[in-house]
Every structure is written in structure tokens, then in C-alpha cells.
């Protein structure tokens, strides 16, 4: 099993969720995050105090998938999240040594 971590633009969440679902991914967990990278941030000004904020709002998706689904899942994300502009985000993959469904105590790929 692998854990796919995708950082995307927030307004692409629904598209990516749909694409992942179509690719056979059953579940995922989503977090609001702030990203730092090539995409520039913005300026805020309050009564003369200027703040440059170089973090931009992003959405992180984590999905545990069986090994055989990894390629399709990555493709699905890349396909759905792209806008051809800086800041579209990344996909990272890491290994999972175990997965358990709390409700049933099922373990392994059945738990996903």
C-alpha cells in the first residue's frame, strides 16, 4: 500500500475527488494547508503596516491506495488538478506498512 499526498489549488478539490473516485480510490482525507514555493503570495496593508505573505492557500489530499492503483491515481490527480499555471502543486508517494479499518478491525488493503 502507498500513501499518496497531493497538494493542489483549493478550488480544484471537487475535480480531483471525482477523478480519484473514477480511478477507483474509495476514500481520502483532506486538509487545508498553506503552501510555499514558486507561486508568489500577496501583500496586506493595515494602517501603513505592510505585510508580505508568501504562503498561499492550498489543499492537501491524502489517499491510501493499493500498490496497483498508484499510477492511475497519480495520473488522475495530475489530470484534474492542472491549470498550467505556477502553484498547481505536487504529488508525493510514500510507503504504508499497515492499514486498519477501525470499525471492523480489517487490516491491509481490505481496510482502504
Amino acid at each position: 500500500m502507498k500513501l499518496i499526498i497531493a497538494i493542489i489549488k483549493p478550488f480544484k478539490l471537487d475535480d480531483v475527488r471525482d477523478a480519484l473516485r473514477e480511478a477507483g480510490v474509495q476514500g481520502m482525507t483532506v486538509t487545508e494547508v498553506k503552501g510555499f514555493g514558486r507561486q508568489k503570495g500577496h501583500t496586506e496593508l493595515y494602517r501603513g503596516a505592510e505585510y508580505f505573505v508568501d504562503f498561499v492557500p492550498k489543499t492537501k489530499i491524502e489517499a491510501a491506495v493499493p500498490d496497483e492503483l498508484v499510477e492511475q491515481a497519480i495520473e488522475a490527480i495530475v489530470g484534474a488538478a492542472g491549470t498550467d499555471s505556477i502553484g498547481d502543486g505536487k504529488v508525493f508517494v510514500s510507503d504504508l506498512s499497515q492499514a486498519v479499518r477501525i470499525r471492523t478491525s480489517e487490516a491491509g488493503v481490505q481496510a482502504l
Binding site: F11, D14, H42, T43, E44, L45, Y46
Partner: protein, 432 residues
């Protein structure tokens, strides 16, 4: 009732008379401290309707990234209208002039001194009370184009609109102009304020086009808690709007307050129960939308109808505005972001029409004028409505088109995505 109508109309006339013979006005009428106390209070109440009332009502309904922008628009309108008002718009609306527009006799507040009266109250108070109407009317329009208009274009539009539309229409109805002369009944602004704002909003929504993503992407209200606070402030402030339009603290003002309360409650419950019935659950936003619909509809009628007329007007407007907002908007496909037309335009029309019905003494109203039948009163109302719709619609359209070609009306796609608060104002509403 004639008495009441004339009181409203007289207010404008006193302003005029005072110009020519200030001593005379004072001779005819003396200042009444009770009436003045109520009108000072009413002025505060109606200002309170726009800031913070309407600002909050609107800010809570937009997405968080645009919350400040709508508040700022309402605030800036408040400031800009104040300056234009004292420079020349008050004069356009209420100074002696033609049947279509006032003259410049009160420009720069000329001839409005500490001792100038308008009826039993200082003219300074009359002018400020009327100013608060000239503030809330354009501010209402903000709801129609929220989340996508350039701030600079908004300023130009509002400045031109109040000069070319609001001032004249106000003069027609309250300043001694042709609609008032004809006997159109509009106690507190069904045509002048609500139809006017609603129609301008509809035109703006169409000219600007839909928000990017509408209606597919979710555009959930960011803070309905604040929207409910704003609605409550509108409700309470509306007592100043309607009961204040009597320009005195008397029985008509009292009844105007009572019918305002009744119609509002009835409209809110109507909307709530329809939604409950049709969707399965009653919602807070539905409830307060109904309340605002009722407030709008009772506005033209408030000095003329009785408690049971108010009940009927409330129910009718709750139903009518629900249909406009929930059904018609979707059917026609325009993006009136916060339903300025659906609530104020439609509610104003319903109210203006029904004023002609429930003014009838037989229906508990103050009574039709001498020689006026219900049918003839209703047709006068129709003329008032139609004239406002056509004039406001056409002129608003022209102003918008001209501005669009000169400076552009809409922010670009990226700014809309980022949100107007950051894109146009370099600040954020919430950093919690």
C-alpha cells in the same frame, strides 16, 4: 389619510417655501421637540440600517474572501452619497423645480440654517433623514453585483446613479414632482427606494454577467450568524424608515411601526413555512429573507394600511419574493448575487400595488382620497411602478454601458478567484 400624504409632500414643499420666505415657514409652524426627537432618532435608525445593518447582512452572505469588499462598498456609498447630497442631490430631489427634477436652490445646503424648519422639525433633520434613504438605496444595489465589480467602477456608477436616477425619482414622488401630484401613494419608499434599487440591481447583474463558476461551484454564505444580525438591524432600523417617514411622533407613526412589525413577521413565517413544506426543512436564511421581503413590501403602505392589511401584504410578499428568489432567478439564469432584485424589486412592486388596495378604509386602511376608487388608486400605483422601472432601467443600463467601455466594470478572473478583499483592498476580513 390625505392629511398624512400631505404631511409627506408638505415636507418637501416647506423646504421650497423656506427658501423664499423662511420667516413664513417659521410663522406657520413651530418646532416640536417631540417630533424632532423622533426624527433625530429615525435618522440614526436609518443610517444604522446601512452601516452596519445591510453591510453585515450582505457580508455574511458572500464568501469570506469578499466579506470586506461588500462592507467597504456600503461604507463608501454612505460617505459618497453624503457629500453629493449636501453638494447638489438634496437640492435636485427637494428644492423647487420642475415636475421632473428639483432646482439648485438648496445646493451646498444653501438656505438650510439652524432655524430653518421643515414642518415641525428643523430642515437640517429633514435633509439628513432623507439622506439616509439616498444612502441605503444605492447600497442595496451592491447585493446584485457583489463579488465581481471593480471598486472604482462601483464608485462612478453610484455617483452617477444617485444624480441621474435617485434624485429625480425621489423628486417625482416626494419632492413635489409628477407622481406625487398624480396621487401615487408611497409612504416610505416602495418605488423610490426598493423598486429603484431592485431594477438597477437586475440591470447591473445582467450587464456585469455571472460570477465565475456560478451556478456550478459552491458559493456558500460565509457567516450566516452575521447575516442574521444584519437582518435584525435592518428590521429594527426600519422602524425609523417607516414610522420616521411620518416626520412626526404621532398616531400615524405609531400605526406605521405596528404594521411594519406585523407584515415583517407574516412574511418571514410565510417564507419559512413554504421552504419547510417544499424542501423539508426551514432555514434561518429563508426566515430572514422573508423578513426583509415583508419589510420591503410594507414600506410604501406603512402610513396607509391597518394591521390586517399588513398581515395580507406580509403573506403576499413572503410568497412572491420566495418565488422570485428561489424559482425565477434560476429559471432566467441571471446572477443577482444576493437577490437585490428578487427581494427589493419584487417586494417593492408587491407592496406598491397592494398599497392601492389596502389603503381602502373598508380593509382597515386610512381611506382612499376623495373621488378615488380602489381601481383608480391601483392604476396610479401601476403608473408609479412602471415609470420607475422604465426610467431606472434605461438610465442604469446606459450608465453601466458607458462605464464599461470607459473604465471596465469587472475585475479580472484572477482577482475574482483570489477574492476582492485581497485583490482590491490588500486586506483580509478574518485572520482568526
Amino acid at each position: 389619510m390625505q392629511n398624512k400624504i400631505s404631511k409627506r409632500v408638505l415636507a418637501g414643499m416647506y423646504a421650497v417655501v423656506a427658501l423664499v420666505t423662511p420667516g413664513l415657514a417659521v410663522a406657520q409652524d413651530a418646532l416640536d421637540s417631540g417630533d424632532t426627537a423622533w426624527m433625530l432618532t429615525s435618522t440614526a435608525l436609518v443610517l444604522f440600517m446601512t452601516i452596519p445593518g445591510l453591510s453585515l447582512f450582505y457580508a455574511g452572505m458572500v464568501r469570506a474572501k469578499n466579506a470586506l469588499s461588500v462592507m467597504m462598498q456600503c461604507f463608501t456609498i454612505c460617505c459618497l452619497m453624503t457629500i453629493l447630497w449636501v453638494l447638489y442631490v438634496y437640492s435636485l430631489a427637494f428644492a423647487d423645480g420642475s415636475a421632473f427634477v428639483g432646482g439648485f436652490g438648496n445646493a451646498f445646503m444653501a438656505n438650510v440654517g439652524v432655524d430653518t424648519l421643515s414642518g415641525t422639525i428643523p430642515e437640517s433633520v429633514f435633509s439628513m433623514f432623507q439622506l439616509t434613504f439616498a444612502i441605503i438605496t444605492p447600497a442595496l444595489i451592491v447585493g446584485a453585483f457583489a463579488e465581481r465589480m471593480k471598486f472604482s467602477a462601483m464608485l462612478w456608477f453610484m455617483g452617477l446613479w444617485v444624480s441621474l436616477v435617485y434624485g429625480p425619482v425621489c423628486h417625482w414622488v416626494w419632492g413635489g414632482g409628477w407622481l406625487g401630484e398624480m396621487g401615487v401613494l408611497d409612504f416610505a419608499g416602495g418605488t423610490v427606494v426598493h423598486i429603484n434599487a431592485g431594477v438597477a440591481g437586475l440591470v447591473a447583474a445582467i450587464v456585469l454577467g455571472k460570477r465565475s463558476g456560478y451556478p456550478k461551484s459552491p458559493m456558500k454564505p460565509s457567516n450566516l450568524v452575521l447575516t442574521m444580525v444584519g437582518a435584525a438591524m435592518l428590521w429594527v432600523g426600519w422602524f425609523g424608515f417607516n414610522a420616521g417617514s411620518e416626520l412626526a411622533a404621532d398616531g400615524v407613526a405609531g400605526m406605521a411601526m405596528a404594521v411594519t412589525q406585523i407584515a415583517t413577521a407574516a412574511a418571514a413565517l410565510t417564507w419559512m413555512f413554504i421552504e419547510w413544506k417544499s424542501h423539508g426543512k426551514p432555514s434561518a436564511l429563508g426566515l430572514v429573507s422573508g423578513a426583509v421581503a415583508g419589510l420591503v413590501a410594507i414600506t410604501p403602505a406603512s402610513g396607509f394600511v391597518g394591521p390586517m392589511g399588513a398581515l395580507a401584504i406580509g403573506i403576499a410578499s413572503g410568497l412572491g419574493c420566495y418565488l422570485a428568489v428561489v424559482k425565477a432567478k434560476r429559471a432566467f439564469g441571471y446572477d443577482d448575487s444576493l437577490d437585490a432584485f428578487g427581494v427589493h424589486g419584487i417586494g417593492g412592486i408587491i407592496g406598491a400595488l397592494l398599497t392601492g388596495v389596502f389603503v381602502d378604509a373598508g380593509l382597515g386602511g386610512a381611506g382612499l382620497g376623495e373621488g378615488v376608487t380602489m381601481a383608480s388608486q391601483v392604476s396610479k400605483q401601476v403608473v408609479g411602478i412602471a415609470a420607475t422601472i422604465v426610467y431606472c432601467g434605461v438610465v442604469s443600463f446606459i450608465i453601466l454601458k458607458v462605464l464599461d467601455s470607459v473604465i471596465g466594470l469587472r475585475v479580472n478572473e484572477q482577482d475574482e478567484q483570489e477574492g476582492l478583499d485581497l485583490a482590491l483592498h490588500d486586506e483580509q476580513g478574518y485572520n482568526l
